[in-house]
Amino acid sequence: MESFEKPVLHKLTVFKKQFYGFLFAVPFLAIFALFFIYPFFSGIAVSFTNRKGEWVGFQNYYNILFNKDFVYQSDFLRGLGNTLLFVAISVPLLIVIPLFIAILLDIKPAGYKFFRALLFMPTVFSISAVVLMWKRVLEVETGFVDAALKAMGMSQIDFLGSQPWAWISLFVVTVWWTMGTNIVILGAGLKNIDKTVYEAAAIDGASYLKTVFTITLPLLAGQIVVVLIMTILASFNIYGQPLLLTAGGPERTTQVALMVIVSNLFDRPYVAASMALLLGLIMIAISLIQAAFARRRND
């Protein structure tokens, strides 16, 4: 009898011990389930329904991609195209410029700590503050640049209301605002490179530029991949800059996918959910491809 009871008691003791651990996780699990798991699956379910809540299968996805009778079809495809354009141009800029600055800062020139803080500072600003500042710089007639152009006798440039200037403005603002994080990550990677490798290269007579391409960049590949994935995902989520700076204009050429999704959110949540899932699928696919490339490179 005793030999039968002992394992049961032991199991109860183990359960009690595990239970205490589980207890600490309960508040997190409750919040996580309520605000992450439930909305995620609820969003997926909504994307398969219509305005009456009836099940319509993949009809919303078909409408978004192919049904030209509805405004949101062209809106979404245009928005997706604009988002891809933004990703294609902003991501290289957000890798190359921070990398260049991080390498310069790694040389530790005079006042490098001041410049490092200065370059990181915009990252902590909210997008509203950033846009307010840049509007004061770029706006026609009341902006600083416009006044400078006038003073030099040059003609006016509508930075926020004409192309390609609206896109250029968005890239400049985005790089200025977000490059700080990438500088910090790449800078940390540079610090971890063994300096003796550079010394050996110097003894072998390698130029500075050659050491950058043959030593720095290969040894920094891990950080660059991390920054690349983070930047691509962040760039796909572009929203605040075009919303507040150009309002999607001129002629909706800077209206990105998230703006289209939000514009449908309250009137057609089933369409917005389908669009969000489509965008999410694209982002997952790109991340998987990147991860596969990174794995192959490591192998």
């Binding site: 309960v26 508040p27 309520l34 405004v71 026609v140 006016q156 004409s162």
Partner: protein, 441 residues
């Protein structure tokens, strides 16, 4: 001891679960104050009826509006209490769509052009005879231009608080002794005279973005055009009148050169407030802040007949919007006491809306416009004849059928040689698809 600790922990988990559930439940309730009696005749009625009011009133207007709410709550202390929540326009409407009928308000202010659409989508309910068991409100006591768009077979969809048109502000120190203009040509002539681009002073700076909605629509009305077909919500702006209206706005910038090109939202307002503009087209809701900036230098005049050279009756129209009190659909019980309280509140706000004119708004309640408070309110009598304030055509899909045009008007205003009819045709096609999307999408 260990077992006791175990049960204590179990109790803690149960409490955590209960708290999580109560968190969820908080989102469902809406905090309805219990009402005693009212439903059953003969039962003693006690306690105050609590009304939740959501509005898009912000800025300087909010001070005056809150003052009116406070006065109402004082007048009906112990009987009715109005709990007011205001948000900027987009947030206000998103909140309504997101919260009705579960956690929405009892009363909401909705702009007149949206009321029919909100009724169609069942965000609001008609104010029918069942509301008027204690007090009545006569719809004929309100400005008919807007009231007529709110009537249905089941009653009325709401009662308007005000009409708010756009007006023509001017800087008296720049305009000086020059006679004020009476039509588009005179306005342009004077604006040209006052423009001194070398000193950065402009006659009539005009944004290509905002308030294009008001300026284009006013020009459209004055040219004799219409926004949409009220029965079908299909666009009607792609007409000779619509093209002439767009041409006038473009001419201000490129033909008469009294405005800089490509002005963004509020850049024209900024030029005006910094003394670099003689005239400025803006909503009457801006009056309070402009009075603070300019003092006695501020001039105000009606836009009636100012965006056309025509002289017919239509040329006097000025576009206006209206804040309308509507009853939100709710899952909570809409008791008879609450219905009566809603009527009492809406009626009181109408009867006391002369105070609203101190915020620069025109009361929609006719008697309020006859009061001394209204007549003595600064500038509002200069907005023009309220009979000429034309609110949006009454149609279920007004926004989809018409508002698409504004971005195309922006395109027209951005180039001296823009293809006006081409842009309006594109706008019309998109508007038709927008109506179709709203009906079937």
């Amino acid at each position: 001891m260990k077992l006791k600790k175990f049960w204590l922990s179990l109790a803690a988990v149960a409490m955590a679960a209960a708290m999580s559930l109560s968190l969820v439940a908080c989102g469902e309730g809406g905090g309805e104050e219990p009402e005693k009696g009212g439903e059953n005749p003969g039962q003693t009625v006690t306690g105050s009826v609590s009304l939740k009011l959501w509005t898009p009133v912000t800025g300087a207007d909010l001070t005056v509006f809150n003052r009116m709410i406070t006065r109402f709550n004082q007048a009906y202390e112990g009987q009715i209490h109005v709990d007011h929540q205001s948000n900027v326009r987009d947030t206000h409407y998103n909140n309504l769509k997101n919260n009705i009928p579960n956690n929405g308000p009892d009363i909401a202010i909705i702009h007149s052009q949206l009321v029919k659409n909100y009724a169609e989508k069942e965000y609001i309910v008609p104010i029918d005879d069942s509301f008027f068991t204690k007090e009545t409100i006569d719809p004929n006591g309100y400005q008919q231009n807007v009231m007529s768009t709110l009537k249905t077979e089941d009653g009325v969809l709401g009662f308007p608080l005000d009409v708010h048109p756009i007006v023509l502000y001017y800087n008296k120190s720049i305009v000086g002794d020059n006679p004020l203009p009476k039509n588009f040509t005179e306005l342009m002539t004077l604006a040209q005279k006052l423009t001194n681009s070398s000193q950065g002073v402009w006659g009539l700076p005009i944004s290509t973005l905002w308030p294009t909605e008001f300026t284009y629509t006013t020009a459209l009305y004055q040219e004799g055009g219409e926004e949409i077909d009220t029965a079908t919500s299909q666009p009607k702006f792609n007409s000779d009148a619509g093209a002439a209206a767009a041409e006038h706005l473009r001419d201000i910038i490129y033909k008469y050169k009294v405005s800089p090109e490509n002005l963004g939202t509020d850049a024209d307002l900024q030029l005006f407030t910094t003394g670099k503009a003689a005239f400025h087209i803006q909503g009457c809701w801006q009056l309070s802040s402009l009075m603070e900036i300019f003092g006695d230098d501020l001039g105000v005049m009606s836009l009636s007949g100012m965006l056309t050279d025509k002289t017919d009756a239509a040329s006097k129209y000025v576009m206006a919007r209206s804040h309308v009190f509507c009853v939100a659909k709710t899952k909570r019980a809409l008791s008879q006491r609450k219905k009566e309280a809603i009527v009492t509140f809406i009626k009181w706000m109408g009867e006391n809306s002369a105070e609203w004119s101190t915020a620069g708004q025109i009361p929609a309640f006719n008697a309020a416009r006859e009061s001394d408070t209204f007549k003595n309110a600064p500038y509002v009598s200069l907005y023009g004849d309220p009979a000429n304030f034309r609110t949006a055509a009454s149609a279920t899909y007004f926004e989809s059928g018409y508002e698409t045009v504004f971005q195309y008007v922006t395109t027209i205003m951005k180039s001296a040689d823009s293809d006006i009819r081409g842009e309006l045709t594109k706008a019309e096609e998109e508007a038709k698809r927008a109506v179709s999307t709203e009906m079937y999408g």
